[in-house]
Symmetry: C2
């Protein structure tokens, strides 16, 4: 067991990166960070203030990517989404 595919070990520094969604091309930037094993907190309001349809498309694309890569994605308040790579889950509270 254990194919030598993963570049992430406990010795690799992982990062939490805050990346604003300003335009559609930021989707690729976010995917790259997830691929590297980093956690992304994405503020969608810069693009949401300009074109809400593009935000929906971007979030749909990211959701599909995250599911394909066994990561996790969730909203954080009104303006942000959190995206995690495989092995890191987002805790859902039963909080109202």
């Amino acid at each position: 067991m254990g194919q030598k595919e993963s570049i992430v070990t406990t010795d690799s520094p992982r990062y939490v990166k805050s990346i604003p969604l300003r335009n559609v091309s930021d989707v690729e930037k976010i995917k790259s960070e997830i691929q590297l094993g980093n956690i992304v907190i994405c503020n969608i309001s810069p693009l949401a203030n300009v074109n809400i349809d593009e935000v929906v498309r971007c979030v749909n694309e990211l959701t599909e990517y995250i599911h394909t890569n066994e990561g996790d994605i969730a909203r954080l308040g009104e303006e942000r989404i959190v995206l995690t790579p495989k092995t890191i889950r987002i805790w859902r509270t039963p909080d109202p």
Copy 2:
């Protein structure tokens, strides 16, 4: 190298947990999550709306705890702070 102290491996599920700061006792809850190797996103506004002095005390205590435990702490927008355990860093962008 490699003392067998760490309970966190790539096989351990880590969580991103959103924990609101409602009162001073939430500080211990947040410390416990960091101790477990989890990442905490803490919305400080519930307590900030009631007693800003207590928020300052809580954040000072958390900052000290994080530094002692070699984690990382940073603001996220106006209402939130992010706290990470050892091995996970918060990326600081040169973004204005």
